[in-house]
């Protein structure tokens, strides 16, 4: 019995070690293989942000399908290496090491959560490989390193933009903020609240909730109702925004609402229904916009997945296409790709015209959108 136990343990350890070594070998084999171009996708496919991670994967897969249908890059087919960072910075570090270390991977689309991007960035930068984040809007990412790029504007930019829209153009005076207590929500609401105050309006309530931990907003909404605001700003993501809108109506809180482009998703409308009507938000792509890339992207996405793309699918799509262009123009070399993207100007993507500043942050002008009759529409005063 005892002997068997020991044997079992030894066997197990042996199997694990052998397979790990086998993994080492395999890695080398992959490096040697040519005739294809590999890029990495690092996104939260499980965990609290799994839904956005799935969007990102779909966006990138669509881009890959399209380029391969056109014969690939320089005659080589593009292959994806998808890795799950589990919405966990520790896991992000592992994934980053894995992808950065695989020299056949030329660039990476990822990560989504700013905390994951910040955990991965030092590793990508050490290995000198470009990674483009489709969703990390935290201002901290700005200083993450020369190989860190993003196609999403910073929270600072959107926060200021929406504040101006709300106070200057719409004339709201008493503003309530509800934000998710994450790097994203906190960063965004801080900028928004500061700008609103600078513009002369009052922040009458500023409440947070913890992402993934509660779907019950009745407590904070009751508090907000008591403060008698004339606008509710939601510094969160679409699932929670829909629930906030619903529960607010249920508490008899009928307010105009505003948010940022992170809310641009089919799910907001399917979950929120009647209760999100009239919500205002900036957006970077829209099916009725004149941007042909966006038009084509939305059409292709609908064909492939039978649903409307959300913001992050679009960002991920753009990130992938930027990488493809860089490979095409600069060659299959990590450093050359980095140099190319650093100097990239006016890349026409689904989310608008992308130009990177010296920190790898993107600069672009948003559209103003409203939810009307269960659809996102261009907003005009």
């Amino acid at each position: 019995m005892k002997r068997r136990g020991k044997l079992f343990t030894l066997l197990l350890v042996a199997v694990v070690l052998v397979s790990l070594l086998a993994g080492c070998g395999q890695q080398k084999e992959q490096e040697a293989k040519t005739g294809e171009i590999k890029i990495g996708v690092a996104a939260p496919l499980t965990g609290a942000s799994a839904q956005d991670g799935e969007s990102i994967r779909k966006g990138v897969e669509l881009a890959v399908e399209q380029i391969n249908a056109k014969g690939g890059i320089n005659g080589k087919l593009v292959k994806l290496e998808v890795a799950d960072d589990k919405t966990d910075p520790k896991e992000a570090a592992i994934v980053a090491n894995k992808l950065a270390q695989d020299k056949s991977i030329l660039a990476i689309v990822g990560h989504f959560n700013s905390s994951a991007t910040l955990a991965g960035a030092p590793i990508y930068n050490k290995e000198k490989v470009v990674h483009i984040s489709p969703g990390s809007s935290s201002p901290a990412v700005t200083d993450a390193g020369p190989y860190t790029f993003r196609v999403i504007t910073t929270d600072a930019f959107q926060g200021e933009y929406v504040a101006e829209w709300a106070v200057k153009d719409e004339g709201f005076k008493r503003i309530a903020i509800i934000y998710e207590n994450t790097d994203y929500g906190k960063g965004l609401s801080d900028v928004f609240s500061a700008s609103v105050k600078k513009l002369g309006a009052e922040v009458v309530a500023n409440e947070s909730y913890i992402l993934g931990e509660t779907k019950d907003f009745s407590t904070v909404l009751t508090k907000i109702k008591n403060a008698k605001p004339d606008l509710l700003f939601i510094g969160g993501l679409y699932n929670e925004a829909a629930l906030i809108a619903k529960q607010a109506k249920r508490l008899g809180l009928n307010l105009p609402m505003m948010g940022v482009d992170a809310l641009y998703s089919d799910a907001l409308i399917s979950l929120g229904g009647q209760d999100v009507e009239g919500l205002l938000l900036p957006g970077f792509f829209h099916y009725s916009s004149t941007n042909p890339v966006a038009q084509e992207f939305i059409k292709a996405y609908r064909e492939k997945y039978n649903s409307d793309p959300g913001t992050y699918a679009a960002y991920a799509y753009d990130a992938a296409n930027i990488i493809f262009e860089a490979i095409q123009k600069a060659g299959e070399d990590r450093q050359k790709i980095a140099d190319y993207i650093t100097n990239l100007k006016d890349f026409q993507g689904a989310t608008g015209i992308n130009t990177f500043d010296e920190n790898g942050d993107v600069l672009k002008e948003p559209l103003r959108l409203i939810i009307k009759n269960g659809k996102f529409e261009i907003y005009s005063e």
């Binding site: 005892k2 136990g5 020991k6 079992f8 343990t9 197990l12 350890v13 694990v16 397979s19 790990l20 993994g23 080492c24 890695q27 496919l45 499980t46 998808v82 890795a83 799950d84 919405t87 966990d88 910075p89 520790k90 570090a93 592992i94 090491n97 894995k98 950065a100 270390q101 695989d102 959560n113 700013s114 905390s115 910040l118 955990a119 960035a121 030092p122 050490k126 290995e127 935290s138 901290a140 200083d143 993450a144 207590n181 994450t182 790097d183 994203y184 929500g185 906190k186 960063g187 913890i210």
Partner: protein, 328 residues
């Protein structure tokens, strides 16, 4: 018998040499990172094993200590510019104090009640990280934590970190090994097995519970301090309840109250998810199923306490009573 012992020592020696030369053999930094993670989790699982495996106190909030250690170290480095080595020691001390504080309710509680209190403590600690914005920058986390330095040499690649964690893990193994085989460790075991009997021979259970919590926390703090400087960025979502559970799973899968068990448990639970990585979607599903399977078919873990080397007190005495030593 002497031969057996000799070959065992040779094996150990070979193992140590291989581990020391590993960065030269494996150049792929992904693998180095995996080995570093294993070292980190060896420290964490050993420190929890002291509390749960040896002293018998169910703790579901170990990640909180890991987090406190990481934040203490990061804040000392970022705000006060202290040397990394001082930060490492201080974070162990401060985390140890928190362990002592959490140990206090443990004096009145047992079993599942203690489990849920430690779980609640872990959640509260995380919420403090999230909400105490002026200290921790809340959910934005603390980026740019500086790397350790020895004189002019800065830890600028994974290799020095590998040696650092190797040293820390080796120290932890040495410390735990000596401790659990000493009078202190045996006293802890008596507290686990029967508090009233322990009292009847002059052992004060409260003292050993507090000691276990403090030491366990201090070592978790060391792991946290290492993590902060290694990844150079920490945020509250690094130290979640799920991480406490993972550490506990390492301890139980490895074998409660067993040092080799914790080492094996940490190694297996770091590597298995990596091996399953190719199955992206099915990975965690399989992982959950494996946990159940393992518990049903091997509840004592890979290396249960029944393999504990008997007559541990004599280990401290080299060469004594060897003629009676039937460990062979």
């Amino acid at each position: 018998m002497i031969q057996l012992k000799l070959s065992k020592n040779i094996l150990k020696l070979i193992g140590a040499v291989v581990l020391l030369l590993l960065p030269l053999l494996v150049t792929n930094s992904y693998f180095i990172h995996i080995f570093i993670s294993i070292g980190l989790y060896i420290i964490l699982s050993l420190s929890l094993n002291l509390v749960t495996g040896f002293t018998g106190q169910l703790a579901l909030g170990h990640a909180a200590f890991y987090g406190i250690g990481a934040y203490t170290s990061a804040l000392l480095l970022l705000r006060f510019n202290v040397s990394y080595w001082l930060a490492l020691v201080l974070s162990a001390v401060i985390t140890g104090i928190f362990g002592f504080l959490l140990g206090l309710p443990a004096l009145r509680l047992k079993g599942d009640y203690l489990g849920i209190v430690t779980l609640g403590f872990g959640e509260i600690v995380r919420l403090v990280f999230v909400n105490w914005y002026s200290l921790t920058r809340g959910p934005l986390g603390l980026p740019g934590i500086p790397a350790p330095k020895i004189g002019p040499y800065i830890f600028d690649s994974r290799i020095p970190f590998y040696y650092l964690i190797f040293g820390l893990a080796a120290f932890t193994v040495f410390f735990m090994h000596r401790l659990v085989n000493s009078g202190v460790g045996m006293a802890m075991i008596t507290v686990k097995e029967d508090e009233i009997a322990a009292e009847s021979i002059g052992i004060y259970p409260i003292k050993y519970k507090l000691l276990a919590f403090s030491l366990g926390a201090a070592f978790a703090g060391i792991a946290g301090s290492f993590y902060a400087s290694y990844i150079s960025f920490i945020s509250p979502d690094t130290f979640l309840y799920m991480d406490s559970v993972t550490i506990l799973a390492m301890v139980v899968l490895g074998g409660l109250g067993s040092i080799p068990g914790s080492i094996i448990g940490a190694t297996v639970l770091v590597i298995v998810p990596e091996l399953l990585r190719f199955m992206t979607n099915y990975r965690m599903l399989l992982y959950g199923a494996l946990m159940v399977f393992m518990m049903i078919y091997r509840p004592q873990g890979f290396w249960g306490a029944n393999k504990r080397v008997r007559n541990s007190y004599k280990i401290g005495i080299r060469g004594v009573s060897n003629e009676k030593d039937i460990r062979g």
